[in-house]
Amino acid sequence: MVKLSIKYLLCLLLLLISVLFVQCEKDIELELKKEGNKMVLYSFIYPDSVFRLHFSNSVDVLSKDNYKFVDNGLFKLYVNDYYKGKFNFPENEVSGEWRNFNFSAGDSIRLVAIDATPDTATANTFIPQTISIEKLDSVSSKYQGTDGILYEVLKCNLKFTDPKYQEDYYQLVIVQERWEVIDDVEAYYREVVDYIKDDPVFYSRNQEGTLMEGLDFHGMFDDEVIKGSYNLQCLVPSSYYKLYWFDKKVKLTFYLYHHTEDYYRYFRTKLISDYYNGLPIFEPVNIHSNVENGIGLVSGVSFTLDSLVFVPDE
């Protein structure tokens, strides 16, 4: 389905104005505040998974580099308000693994980062509870695109229950795995499915219609229109599950991520910020951060999964 790109047209229009009116560009001297040196932390914490950390310093906006290594970086970890230990961040690295920790869903985590200055940055997060996929149904269907053409799709219904009395943030990611055998040579492919997001949870602003090209938030949604048990509908184009003569098996795995609000906001603002990159007529978008006295994102992530398997008829 073709989307109308307003961004494309605006760019062309600006280009036209430039041609029409004659334009020029030049370096200007504007006294920029030389900031930089802010502590930058990242960590995406999964239950029962390796605890990876990022630690770096920000740089001046005019710097050619994107970051600066941290000297004598040190982390302190608190889980459910209990001090769990410290971790010396490796020199001249931007990521490190802090082993011997096992987190569980529901854990609240406080991460304190200290550098040589010694400045301290703190991030608080938690690991959301996993939300079970209670049921996964699928049925072959037709989908009429805005171009009027009927497309063959797999209509999938994914049932889950949204916890009451709290704001929850989700993401549905579908991964296709394909095993092929051609001339006795086995091949394996893995691809993220670009499914049709026509469930209301993906488009609250439905007044805008469907033709305007909006931002794709990678299947993220909140529970604004969800009350308790919910059947999330998504449409998987046939190209992702159709079996060819050489296919041995196709598997569609549905990952239902349960995110923190911080992750949700960081993800969205990052996408919006990148979308506007190169278009200075738009007000720049600040990317969300949950690091006090620093920048970045420390967030717990949990997920459940279910899958559909397609095999050739015997």
Partner: protein, 883 residues
């Protein structure tokens, strides 16, 4: 024989008898003296003189009695009293006899009032003159003609000296003896030295007399004298050169008025609100100067009749048309051509006015794109039309319309395809198309009626429709048949309104206005239409979305402009408004007060207080005006924006034609809206309400205007210092920050010089402090997100520590222009030429970061760059004929 001793007695007796006889012969009451009227036709004064000369009786009278210019005496011979009774029968007088003298006084001089009313018009074309001053030179009671040229002035009966003045016209002065209510159409003649009066005037009816503060009239002939961008006369650009008003960027038509945003201005064309005033992203305004009669702007001190926006009201009135003869003009410029025609269909009864403008950049560029695979086309046009029907002096009807559109089209993917039918086979070329456009359609129908002499009414019905659309047509082959898909998105606003206004002028000291309006807003936040011939039967027309929002808005007002004391005048009023959202009703009662104190005959002190409420707001796409900007109503969650503004000012008439005004203001804004720091217009996953944050703002400023109104050299110098801050709990960590409209220093200068009757020139210079912008302070690491569906990582993020903490470089530009006129048999031709940006200053359009290469070392580095439009002197030329 008479006894000598009795002689004195006889003398006395005879004297007594003589006196008695004389009394009998001559000495009856002077009023009873018979007078023979020799000439029976003449004025009151003529007959009074005849009475005096014919009777020997001296008449003493006040010149405030009722005098007539033409009377025919019904008597050939009668006594003085009868004659006087006849002469002053319309305003009874009393007569006091003193010996041989009669003193005539008006019996009801203080009680009787008469009303003089009518229209003020251009003497040659019959076009009404809006805002013309009308006053009695004797008493200094005065008024101004309203938006339809109507005036009404109630004065004590008697002799008056009626004066009327209007910028660019000869002063009208006539002595009248007011006996009864009188209707007069005043026809002012244009001054021969019209072009010498290069004034963009602060509207001061009777100069210092008016209570108006922060109100400016922009006469159209002044706008035509200004140097103009690409030769396009532009109302909005001219307004931007006034103190307290800025453009917000190079070339834009948007108005930043006293710290307010561009959506806080109510711009009305013949009483109809216009929602998008820009062609070509705002580089040109939609108003064709050929069609416009009058432009005025109120930026503070709002009388009660205005409402609906926080920062300004711009009223644009179009020409009715010449009532005597057909005339018109045609003009060719670099960017566009235009033509206008107006005149009577029925002389003095039914008039028309038409004007049309279109760009031809698309026509010029077409040959250069002949062989290109992708062809672009851009054009805009606007068409104004008006019909005026003067049924009588008391009833006038008007119908006016405006239609304008911008369209940008890209054609690509050209293919030659074969088509066949039963008989033959042929080939044709098809292409895919992307198109974007926007436009306004404005309609109004009005009826003016004058009730008696003091009551003027205007009923207006309006339609205002603004649309933005973006569409795409694609061809594709299905089987062996070519098909096409057409998709279209549009958004906009459509208003249907009715408005009733009354002007009531009971006595000279009062000017009462009251009225109301009702508007049905239809907001279209986005509709999709899809058409396809896929079924081979008929195109499928599918509409998606369609959640139009119907929102009613109503306004009522009453105001009185009156003298409290001789030197102290106020305009007191109240404006009531209401708006209905989904399930909530909003109401607002807004007091308005304007006051003027005459400190001397040359200095007046003025002050005002007004509260304003705004129920619609513009969801802006970007920092510049884009057609995608969407008008949206207040809702259950989004409250109306409100403003309280107070101002105080002094006006000093330095000379007869030179004024200095100093005005300070304080404006407080509440419930103003902005997009959340973490949101975007293109984020369709959120409804638009949840993208907005509500906050407050405050703007303070002082404005100076030195203004020379006439002479060979005329013009003005304006300076504004202002500060505007906004504060939102959810933006900038809750700290106040400079608003995007915060332009600290603003200087504007316009000078016009009349070299001779055929050549005039104008020069403008504008300076503005840089507008605030947000720039990132840090770059920092950005990891690939673990749940990203596909990789979009740029490797780094940018941090904006503080909102609007930087400012663009200052803006300044000088433009110069000349008009060379020549009279022809058929009328006049005018060559207009000039240079925009005379000294080639590179003004910032926007700033951005970019990679650079050091040519010596080969090292790359980041730098902040400025993008400028027309960075060097840009000449223009336009050829105009008028007939």
């Amino acid at each position: 024989m008479i006894r000598r001793d009795l002689l004195p007695v006889y003398k006395v007796f005879f004297v007594f008898i003589a006196l008695l006889f004389a009394q009998l012969v001559h000495g009856q009451s002077p009023l009873q003296t018979t007078v023979k009227i020799e000439e029976r036709k003449g004025s009151t004064r003529f007959f009074l003189n005849q009475i005096e000369s014919g009777s020997g009786v001296v008449l003493s009278y006040s010149n405030k009695l009722c005098f007539s210019n033409e009377l025919i005496c019904p008597y050939s011979e009668t006594n003085i009293q009868t004659l006087l009774d006849w002469l002053f029968e319309d305003c009874p007088a009393i007569y006091i006899e003193r010996n041989n003298k009669v003193i005539i006084k008006s019996k009801t001089l203080r009680q009787k009032k008469v009303t003089i009313s009518g229209y003020v018009k251009d003497g040659s074309s019959g076009e009404v003159l809006i805002g013309a001053n009308m006053y009695d030179k004797e008493t200094f009671y005065g008024t101004t003609s309203n938006n339809f040229g109507f005036y009404s002035l109630t004065l004590p009966a008697g002799n008056i000296s009626l004066n009327s003045s209007y910028i660019g016209y000869q002063k009208f002065s006539k002595s009248l003896s007011l006996i009864r209510d009188t209707f007069i159409i005043i026809k002012l003649q244009q001054r021969a030295e019209l072009n010498e009066v290069s004034v963009l005037g602060v509207y001061i009816p009777s100069e210092l007399e008016s209570t108006s503060i922060g109100t400016i009239d922009v006469p159209m002939h002044q706008i035509r004298n200004m140097p103009v961008f690409l030769g396009e006369e532009d109302v909005m650009k001219s307004i931007q050169l006034l103190p307290g008003i800025q453009s917000g960027g190079e070339g834009f038509s948007g108005l930043f008025v006293r710290g307010g945003g561009p959506d806080q201005n109510l711009i009305m064309l013949d009483d109809v609100p216009v929602y998008n005033v820009g062609h070509l992203l705002g580089f040109f305004s939609i108003f064709n100067a050929d069609a416009i009669n009058k432009v005025s702007i109120v930026k503070g001190g709002f009388p009660a009749r205005y409402g609906g926006r926080l920062s300004s009201v711009v009223e644009i009135r179009t020409y009715d048309g010449d009532s005597k003869k057909i005339n018109g003009s045609a003009s060719i410029g670099i960017l566009s051509s235009r033509a206008s025609l107006n005149g009577p269909i029925i002389k003095d009864k039914l008039l028309y006015s038409l004007s049309f403008r279109r760009t031809y950049f698309d026509l010029i560029s077409a040959p250069f794109q002949w062989n290109k695979e992708e062809k672009e086309k851009y054009f805009f046009y606007d068409l104004n039309g008006k019909l005026s029907y003067y049924l009588s002096d008391k009833d006038k009807f008007y119908v006016s319309a405006y239609g304008g559109k911008d369209e940008y089209t890209v054609k690509y993917n050209y293919q030659d395809i074969s088509t066949s039918n039963d008989e033959d086979e042929s080939t044709k070329t098809i292409n895919d198309t992307r198109s974007s456009g926007w436009g306004n359609l404005i309609l109004s129908a009005r009826w003016n009626h004058v009730f008696g002499k003091k009551f003027f009414s205007n009923v207006t019905t309006t339609v205002s429709d603004y649309r933005f659309y973006i569409s795409q047509t694609q061809n594709y082959m299905l089987g062996e048949q070519w098909k096409y898909i057409y998709q279209r998105y549009f958004s906009g606003i459509r208003d249907f309104g009715v408005k009733v206004d009354f002007d009531y002028l009971p006595i000279a000291r009062h000017y009462v206005r009251f009225g109301g309006s009702y508007t049905q807003h239809l907001f279209y936040p986005g509709i999709d239409v899809v058409m396809s011939d896929i079924n081979d039967i008929a195109p499928v027309d599918t509409t998606y979305g369609g959640n139009s929002l119907l929102r009613p808005e109503a306004h009522l007002y009453v105001e009185d402009d009156f003298n409290v004391f001789k030197r102290f005048k106020v305009n007191l009023g109240v404006h009531f408004s209401s708006f209905f959202s989904e399930s909530k009703s909003y109401y607002s009662l807004e007091p308005r007060l304007l006051a003027r104190l005459l400190l001397s005959s040359k200095v007046s002190l003025k002050g005002s207080y007004s509260e304003m409420t705004q129920y619609v707001h513009l969801l802006r796409t970007a920092n510049v005006a884009l057609p995608t900007d969407m008008w949206l109503p207040v809702s259950d969650n989004i409250k109306p924006m409100r403003a309280k503004q107070s101002s105080i000012g002094v006006e000093w008439s330095i000379r007869k034609d030179m004024f200095l005004s100093v005005e300070g203001y304080h404006k407080k804004l509440n419930n103003i809206l902005d997009i959340k720091a973490e949101s975007s217009f293109f984020d369709y996953s959120l409804n638009w309400e949840s993208m907005l944050v509500s906050g407050s703002g405050v703007s303070d400023g002082i404005e100076f205007l030195l203004h020379k109104k006439s002479g060979s050299l005329s013009g003005w110098f304006g300076y504004t210092y202002s500060e505007t801050y906004n504060k939102f709990d959810e933006l900038n960590n809750g700290k106040a920050f400079p608003a995007s409209t915060d332009i600290r220093h603003d200087i504007s200068m316009f000078l016009s010089y009349q070299f001779n009757k055929m050549v005039d020139g104008g020069i403008t210079w504008a300076f503005g402090s840089g507008i605030p912008i947000s720039l990132p302070s840090d770059k920092y690491y950005a990891p690939e997100l673990p749940t990203a569906q596909y990789e979009e990582a740029t490797g780094y993020n940018m941090l904006i520590s503080e909102r609007n903490s930087y400012r663009m470089p200052n803006f300044h530009r000088m433009d110069i222009g000349f008009n060379f006129k020549k009279k022809k048999k058929w009328g006049m031709r005018i060559w207009s030429t000039g240079i925009i940006n005379v000294y080639g200053h590179q003004n910032p359009f926007f700033l951005y970061f970019d990679d650079n290469m050091n040519e010596e070392t080969g090292d790359s580095y980041w730098s902040l760059k400025q993008f400028s439009l027309f960075p060097f002197p840009l000449p223009y030329v336009r050829y105009t004929i008028k007939f």
